[in-house]
Assembly symmetry: C2
């Protein structure tokens, strides 16, 4: 880690709310209390006008920058820190862990106060809308009425779009990266197959695996391996692995890992089981599946018109929309549709379809390009907003 | 079924050979005896010059046309029959099941003569080269020295290419569809995750599940679901499913199948377990992973030159190469590379990149386009070969 540009040692904080009045969820169920894990970097200015919210993807946490007590680097440390794209010398950066996660926020691993046992599948289903409403409660707690900007890729981008439509008055600018206004059937399909791999693991035990030491690691590993393939591109897999063999000169003609790409996936699957919870994987993928900005407002015969109507109150928000040419999980046309709707709604939109071979992961990997792009956009927004 | 154009009731035949002299495999292991299941349609002419070989994909069988005794239609009945693309009034059409399969050819479900028990994982690993060498033995048995043409998609296309390079003198024309000259890391990755889903199923029991009634259906179903996603395209999933719900008006906020695409995948996964063997899935995906025409002949620094050299003795073969614009599992550039190499080698090549939204499955689904294309190509070859 480059300590010069690091926010240094970070600590995850926790906000607990809705202890008395339950937090109502979109499903009709409720949750009480609600805990959100979050980290902040930099200093809130006197006008409380320099706050940026960072939204994480499926397997992320509140630990977005710096290093924690265990020495783990934040997941977007490349872009958050002094002098970086999200410059902590100028801005107050917040990253909040999502509801349903296993990284300190309320989720299936949390103890249900009614029983003293982990909720497991008794945890209520949450949506991107619920996740964002909980984040709004966190901002209230921090005394932040408006966000100068918020940014996120993939599921983080869904939260960005949800914020821009649910709380348009609280948002000055928004940066949805490698994302979509509605989960596609292909996204749902990959999510579902990952979930089926977890359900198929007898150690899953209908979600009640916390007490007896048998965890559905094999199922979760398969789910994660599927995910990893979808985050790469055909081209990046050629660069990264080709048909190279792992630790051998010639084919073994057996069922061990022969190719590097197999070895990589097995390693990624296994290491994920050490840091993530299978039930959280189920809940968070479901939240993504449900995501559809035009739901209840949409007209099947006019998807663009429906999406434009969704942004009717968001015309004052400045948008930076970014997609990546080799991202086949969130193909660029999803972003172009978003840009068309935002433009039709009268918003100020900058759009880039970045040439990259890194697939969906590009939003984290194309650091130089992203740094320049994010910095100049936020500079401009800050200048125009007088921050 | 349109009985007018059908080959009618079909019967799968079996050839057993290598009972005395073992069949040597590329791995160095051997197999004895070897059984191949096959079907034939139409009549071999006196000159024995009108034979076509049809090569099947991962989950296919010898039953390519007509209906079997159980009323099941052949997997490529759209294209094989009287008056169809592979016209059984003019041609003698052969379809051979691959080694490793569970549809009547030697594979892990076959009894090992040494023990009387199914081979399971004691079955030797087979390659596309082994599969094709066994098919050559079948042609010898049928008294066919040369094939007027051979055709196949996906893994069937790999066999077509293997034939064209291993036995160029026995091949007059070749039709590799939606395929590649070497399995890509993305293909290997999806295969491996499917295999991992099978390994993760405790009912798999290291492959020895035939005797105790517990089969790794859950793992095999997950593997098949992954496969089905890769056979479709993002666009075809929008057409086929969109975000439509299955048997419900609104979200259930539970872990049942809510979206049609989930229901489709669960159904496809489940029904596959009723007709396919998990160990065969392991063996056949491995055979595909190993496939690389340039292996041992290839130069890493010159893939096109290596591939051209592979076809040095194939310049007399007429090729029809077909890819599909939305096939992301076997992207068109793989076919274009093949066409470049064949052209450089001096072969007569027709290439079409067919505009289709159906993804990899297009080679089976674009019936009208494929019928016209295959018919006119085979007509021309037959005319030029004087058949």
């Amino acid at each position: 880690m480059n300590t010069v540009n690091s926010v240094g040692l970070t600590e995850t904080k926790h906000l607990t709310f809705a202890a008395e009045k339950p937090f109502m969820l979109e499903s009709g169920a409720s949750l009480s209390p609600v805990t959100l894990a979050y980290e902040t970097y930099g200093t809130l200015n006197a006008a409380r006008s320099n706050a940026l919210l960072i939204c994480h993807a499926l397997s992320g946490s509140a630990h977005a920058a710096g290093v924690d007590a265990q020495g783990r680097e934040g997941w977007w440390d490349d872009c958050i820190g002094p002098g970086k794209a999200f410059d902590t010398k100028r801005f107050f950066v917040i990253c909040s862990n999502v509801l349903g996660s296993c990284y300190g926020s309320s989720g299936p691993t949390t103890r249900d106060p009614a029983t003293g046992q982990p909720y497991a599948l008794r945890f209520p289903m949450v949506t991107i809308g619920d996740i964002v409403r909980a984040q709004a409660a966190l901002l209230d707690h921090l005394g932040i009425e408006t966000l100068l900007s918020l940014a996120g890729g993939s599921m983080g981008g869904m939260q960005v779009l949800e914020w821009a439509t649910r709380y348009p008055r609280r948002v000055r600018s928004a940066i949805p990266l490698a994302t979509t206004a509605r989960s596609s059937p292909m996204l749902i399909a990959f999510s579902e197959v990952g979930r089926q791999a977890i359900y198929a693991d007898p150690n899953w035990q209908d979600g009640d695996y916390y007490s007896n030491g048998r965890r559905p690691d094999a199922g979760l590993a398969v789910a994660r391996m599927i995910g990893h393939i979808t985050y790469l591109s055909e081209q990046s897999m050629h660069h990264k692995f080709g048909r190279r063999l792992q630790d051998r000169e010639r084919f073994g003609y057996d069922f061990a890992s022969e190719f590097q790409v197999e070895s990589y996936l097995r390693h990624k699957g296994l290491s994920f089981t050490r840091r993530f919870d299978a039930n959280s994987y189920l809940y968070i993928t479901k939240a993504m599946d449900y995501f559809d900005l035009t739901r209840d407002r949409g007209r099947v015969d006019d998807p663009l018109g429906s999406l434009t109507a969704v942004f009717a109150d968001s015309a004052h928000i400045k948008f930076l929309v970014v997609s990546f040419t080799s991202d086949w999980l969130y193909p660029s046309y999803h972003s172009r549709e978003l840009v068309s709707a935002l433009t039709a709604a009268g918003a100020d939109v900058t759009y880039l379809d970045i040439q990259s071979s890194w697939g969906h992961d590009a939003f984290l990997l194309e650091v130089d390009t992203m740094t320049k792009l994010l910095s100049s956009f936020i500079d401009r927004v800050a200048r125009e907003e007088g921050v």
